[in-house]
Symmetry: C2
Subunit: 236 residues, 2 copies
């Protein structure tokens, strides 16, 4: 029996490019499905009422990983959670502006770095800072944010990649230049990346159920079968 | 207790416009969620293996209703169904071209009007011809298609509106100028339209779970609560 493939960074980038260039998908479409699957994975991992009653903090980076986080925030709101967003550096272009507008109009609060945050109220933190195109070490402007994420007491959920990790080799061994996250939950989008073999948390999900069979075959993804109409699948 | 609102045509158009103009959504995003909810509603209504083994024919019009159908076809394919598409008049613009490319690259066949279709193989037909901006009578070029849809023996699923119906008053009483569909399943998107009170089939679903609470409040939609992370809700 074939086992699920863990993608190299180059493979992850190529799969992504093919979805847009060969299969004709728009970023809007796939980000919507990816973010939805992240939100559903969070609900399935942390369904107790206490998680819903508290605040879910989503920390979003300037790229598409951050966009997935913004979409997830919107769906979490519809699912009855209480998302707030920290978005220190907004992505460029109309898409990201629209995603921010959608969240604001759904009464989701954006908090600034210096804003007083009652950490006692926060029951889930979502790391949507960097995705599969990231390479360590982390840039100075994000160091403090990553460092803070290593200190939280509630569950940490990483979108696609634990931010700061090398996409292939995992936790960065760069002498402390990059703080090392240890998420409790990882939502791999389309297919897991090689670094996911180092994931030590409780919940590992696959999301982003939009991969055409011919693309899965070309890259020998050997994706496990999603059940019914589910948008995510737990593999650990 | 408040009951769910059935929208007039003007209200439906206004809700749609606000989603794009005020809430900053793109058509790509909402069509993806709408089409996904249509596909899930179909799976939940017709889950027996015999439906999956047969062919699901989606008849798509040139507007956004047809676009929802194209998205639904793609998700049905991922859910293990066997969709084929009849798309007699393609919608204008890049979005529709992309939706067609996505389906073709997922090995979904487009059939022409004159192509021999083995109706014995077809187990579900999806009517995605016209949506909430339609006004009868039907244009001549679509008469035969609608007429054929009145004669099918398998379940008919209408997306948002049974095509040919008046959005408010329902089955068109225009002396036979517009064939009258009687779907077995109706998937109302965002909120039901007034014509849905005339729906006599077995399955009535609400889909398109993306309506911001403030918009629902403004139009007093009184939407029932979706369960958990479900993307559709059966109301009949």
């Amino acid at each position: 029996m074939s086992t699920i493939k863990y993608l190299s960074q180059t493979e992850a980038i190529n799969v992504d490019q093919e979805l847009f260039n060969e299969y004709g998908f728009s970023v809007d479409q796939l980000m919507e499905l990816a973010g939805l699957s992240v939100a559903i994975s969070i609900v399935k991992s942390y369904s107790e009422q206490s998680f819903k009653d508290g605040t879910t903090l989503l920390v979003c980076g300037p790229g598409n990983n951050g966009g997935d986080g913004l979409v997830a925030a919107r769906h979490l709101k519809l699912f009855g959670y209480k998302p707030v967003i920290h978005y220190p550096k907004q992505g460029k272009g109309q898409l990201f502006q629209n995603l921010v507008t959608q969240c604001l109009k759904m009464d989701i609060t954006f908090i600034s770095e210096h804003q007083q945050l009652n950490w006692n109220d926060i029951t889930i933190v979502v790391d949507a800072l960097f995705g599969f195109s990231y390479r360590p070490p982390v840039r100075a402007e994000f160091y403090d944010i990553l460092s803070n994420l290593t200190k939280i007491k509630c569950p940490l959920v990483s979108v696609d990649i634990p931010s700061g990790w090398n996409v292939e080799t995992g936790p960065s061994d760069d002498g402390g230049k990059t703080p090392v996250l240890q998420p409790d939950c990882l939502v791999s989008l389309t297919a897991p990346k090689q670094c996911a073999t180092h994931f030590g948390g409780r919940f590992h999900w696959i999301g982003g159920r939009f991969v055409p069979p011919s693309l899965a075959k070309k890259y020998q993804l050997n994706l496990p079968n999603y059940e019914g109409t589910e948008q995510c699948l737990r593999i650990k």
